[in-house]
């Protein structure tokens, strides 16, 4: 079996197994279904890693149904074009699903046999999403991902909060999905094609109003999934109520896939048309990224519900990842893919740790948990390592991603970007440090009570146990340690940049897909020294610790550290805006679309 024959399997096999488990799970018992699901996820992990190695610097195309393109570049079928960026995202998705399924061995006694199939379908959709080379196929996998996510989010149906969270999630994402379909329709009206390469070739360098409107609609739809401000309101609600293994998938890879989609859509189709306005587009995207990072970080520090805290930190890091894409350069895009991988495993591990807290201590609000975690040293250690990873300090892989993005920013005279990185890193890592010190060490003042942390989550397991089960602890530890292990891969930054070069070259992409011309492997350039990034990230780590300690001991220290307490109480206006009302969320979505559309009309028209 050649490597390309394997391409459809990470999607087809989990789907078939999911249907099988849904049918026969009751007959075969819970443990068998669990074991089968874990085995399928592990098999997917092995397959996606093989596919990554096969397409390392050689993107390959696979046409479904043997429908190769006709003369004059007309593609009637659907293709998968797998390159290293997409393949690495599929590996991340399979890895996090395996970890989540392992974690859930101990939980969910009453979901019959519906949980495992939904997780497998979610994984298949994410793999398909990362591999596809067709515009509508991207949307179909987006829809599959979303439906599985809505169902998994609303799992805990005995409390009102999960249903509200799942509903908000469902409604806002569905409106985004409709916008994507409108955008696809408009692009089809202009080009008569749905294949990325064919559309890109058809559009050429035209960028009239219809094309810009299509770009607006498609980007907004995917940015809703990517939780970019002002489309981000659903994320915290969804995370606050989802079970921990599901949160791992949401924050670790689903949000990042939204940003990946914006990058893919831009680089394969719109890059030629918008080439004259790259500077303006870059500015627009970077401003959005910065606002997202700042808002996410500020709300993160003001949260005391562990999962909402981590959710807002995902929003902040999503802003940083959008900056990697928004710089519109190969080096930054390479940094983006590294950042996604290392952030995904670290955040996934942190959510599993939050699940461990819920399991052992039966509560999830920081104020209720003050000092109750004393004695859980291993879990506390994982939390501390995770916060270290969020701060982007060595030896975590997040450092490498951040350094590539910052170097690229300097080349484009956007030297302010590394400081936004620092801000987001300091505040989000500080929040996790603060929570760890409060819960596991019992330090400091009791946390201020905010409304959201009053919603206590029902514990996911039935009985309390003395020790954390290995099946919960090991996946969490492995994920966080992988964040460190990523830095050990040789030549990682050069390969990432080379892979990004292939991703961002619209011409060679179209040739490879439509004419089967293999692109030349790009040369690996030596990466720039890491010193400035290391210095910045170590300062960020130190400041994060200081921030956490400052908020904990603000009564004793006082003076100029009082602002840390203000940061913890949060901005009341910002809190009110995050109201939990779905109508509000959709109103903000419309506002964001109109504003972005206005900016496109003003800056990007011919």
């Amino acid at each position: 079996m050649t490597a390309t024959t394997m391409f459809p399997l990470p999607i087809a096999i989990p789907l078939a197994v999911a249907a099988f488990i849904a049918l026969s799970g009751k007959l075969l018992g819970r443990r068998f279904s669990d074991a089968l699901a874990i085995a399928t996820a592990a098999a997917n992990l092995w397959m996606t890693i093989s596919i990554l190695r096969a397409t390392w610097l050689q993107p390959q195309t696979y046409w479904f149904g043997n429908w190769w393109p006709r003369a004059h570049d007309v593609a009637l079928g659907i293709c998968f074009t797998v390159d290293s960026v997409g393949a690495s995202l599929a590996v991340l998705a399979s890895l996090l699903t395996t970890a989540g399924l392992l974690f859930s061995w101990e939980i969910f006694e009453d979901t019959e046999n519906h949980f495992q199939p939904l997780m497998l379908i979610f994984m298949a959709a994410m793999c398909g999403f990362s591999y596809t080379g067709d515009l509508f196929n991207l949307f179909v996998f987006f829809g599959l991902m979303s439906v599985a996510a809505f169902a998994l989010c609303g799992l805990k149906t005995l409390e009102p909060a999960p249903l509200q969270g799942a509903y908000n999630f469902g409604l806002v994402n569905t409106v985004g999905a409709f916008m994507i379909v409108m955008g696809i329709g408009l692009l089809y009206a202009r080009t008569g094609a749905l294949n990325f390469a064919q559309v890109g070739r058809s559009l050429g360098s035209s960028s009239d109003a219809l094309v810009l409107l299509a770009f607006l609609l498609i980007s907004v739809g995917y940015m809703v999934k990517a939780a970019i401000v002002p489309f981000h309101f659903w994320l915290a609600d969804a995370h606050a109520v989802s079970p921990s293994p599901v949160c791992v998938l949401f924050s670790g890879v689903m949000v990042e896939l939204g940003i990946y989609a914006v990058a893919r859509v831009y680089w394969t189709m719109f890059q030629g048309g918008l080439a004259a306005h790259t500077r303006e587009l870059r500015a627009i995207l970077l401003v959005m990224a910065a606002i997202t990072a700042i808002v996410g970080a500020l709300m993160c520090y003001a949260e005391h519900h562990l999962k909402r805290l981590l959710a807002f930190s995902t929003i902040a890091h999503a802003g940083l990842m959008l900056a990697g894409v928004g710089l519109l350069a190969p080096k930054a895009l390479g940094g983006f893919s590294l950042y996604v991988l290392s952030h995904g495993v670290v955040k996934g591990g942190l959510f599993l740790c939050a699940g461990i807290v819920l399991h052992r201590l039966r509560k999830i609000g920081e104020d209720h948990l003050h000092g109750e975690g004393k004695g859980m040293w291993w879990t506390a250690g994982l939390f501390l390592l995770g916060a270290w990873g969020l701060a982007g300090a060595p030896p975590f892989g997040t450092l490498l991603g951040e350094s590539m993005i910052s170097d690229s920013a300097k080349e484009f005279h956007q030297a302010w970007l590394p400081y936004i990185f620092m801000f987001a890193e300091i505040v989000t890592a500080g929040a996790v440090f603060r929570a760890t010190f409060r819960i596991f060490f019992g330090w400091g003042e009791p946390a201020p009570t905010d409304r959201s942390s009053q919603i206590e989550e029902k514990p996911e397991t039935d009985e309390e146990e003395e020790n954390v089960p290995a099946v919960m602890f090991v996946p969490a530890a492995v994920l966080i340690l992988l964040g460190i292990a990523l830095s050990a891969v040789p030549n990682l930054r050069s390969t990432a940049e080379a892979g990004a070069q292939l991703f961002t070259n619209q011409f060679t992409y179209a040739q490879a897909v439509l004419q089967n011309v293999e692109p030349a492997a790009p040369a690996l350039t030596a990466p720039e020294p890491l010193t400035s990034s290391i210095v910045r990230s170590c300062i960020a780590l130190a400041l994060a610790l200081l921030l956490a300690l400052g908020s904990l001991f603000h009564k004793r220290i006082g003076g100029w550290l009082k602002f840390t307490h203000g940061l913890e109480l949060g901005n009341p206006i910002l809190r009110k805006v995050h109201s939990g009302h779905p109508g509000d969320y959709v109103a903000w979505l419309s506002f964001g679309t109109a504003l972005l559309g206005g900016m496109f009309v003003w800056f990007l028209r011919r």
């Binding site: 078939a16 439906v147 149906t157």
Partner: protein, 255 residues
């Protein structure tokens, strides 16, 4: 935000959106001027290449069959989600032990007139035949698996409405329904994978194509259409059963 503030905020954004739409649609191709290559090429070649006269279904189940696989599983995941949301909860069982009988059986007899009862029973037969006809002729005329499956799934509902709650209960609790749903979904993936064994790419049409216009033509298009029909029937019947049980139990048996 207060209700008024939200409305005003939205109306401002809507005005902006309308302006952006108006600006964008100026460059849209006018109605009736379809120029794109896809439609022109596929209508020329589909009948010859696949011996299917319904080009829409040829696209759905063959040219772009992979999309339809994803769409089918969207349906499957949704049904799973609804079943998950309405699953019997442990606390509920402890509360309402006397309700458990109602959770199992929808035993109320709807008071229907005799005319309605007889005509509905006739309707069921017509619907089943029509549903199978539509599902089986997908490759020849408009229709196909989805459409036929929805019609077939309405037949048990008509049984319920004609007053035969017991028959309805027996039909929808049959394990065949779940088998149809999962079997249809998995079958689609397996048909696609079967092509891999013949050295072709996933979802290639490997069965002999037959004569254009015949009932058994166009290879895997007919097979996939039937599988999709099975899955949609099973899925919708499960949905109906879940909703009816939930609503009747929640309202304590009141209609």
């Amino acid at each position: 935000m207060s209700s008024r503030a939200r409305t005003i905020f939205f109306l401002i954004s809507a005005a902006g959106l309308a302006a952006v739409f108006a600006w964008g649609f100026r460059d849209a191709p006018p109605l009736g001027d379809y120029r794109g290559p896809y439609g022109n090429v596929v209508t020329q070649v589909a009948v010859y290449e696949r011996h299917a006269t319904d080009v829409v279904n040829a696209i759905n189940y063959d040219y772009r069959g992979f999309d339809t696989l994803g769409e089918e599983f969207i349906f499957f995941a949704s049904v799973l989600g609804v079943l998950l949301l309405f699953r019997p909860q442990k606390e509920k069982e402890n509360e309402g032990k006397n309700d458990s009988k109602e959770q199992e059986h929808l035993e109320e007899e709807l008071p229907v007139s005799d005319t309605l009862r007889v005509s509905m029973q006739l309707m069921v037969v017509i619907m089943i035949v029509f549903g199978v006809y539509i599902a089986a002729h997908g490759q020849l005329t408009p229709g196909g698996g989805f459409q036929g499956g929805v019609i077939l799934a309405s037949a048990p509902l008509v049984v319920y409405l004609s007053g035969n709650a017991e028959t309805f209960e027996r039909i929808v609790s049959s394990p065949l329904i779940k088998l149809a749903e999962s079997g249809g979904a998995a079958g689609y993936a397996i048909v696609g994978a079967a092509a891999l064994f013949f050295g072709a790419h996933f979802l290639t049409n490997i069965i002999p194509l037959g004569m254009t216009g015949d009932l058994f033509s166009s290879g895997t298009i007919a097979v996939i259409s039937a599988l999709v029909g099975l899955e949609v029937t099973g899925g919708f019947v499960l949905l109906m059963k879940t909703y009816l049980q939930e609503i009747i139990v929640a309202h304590g048996g009141k209609k």
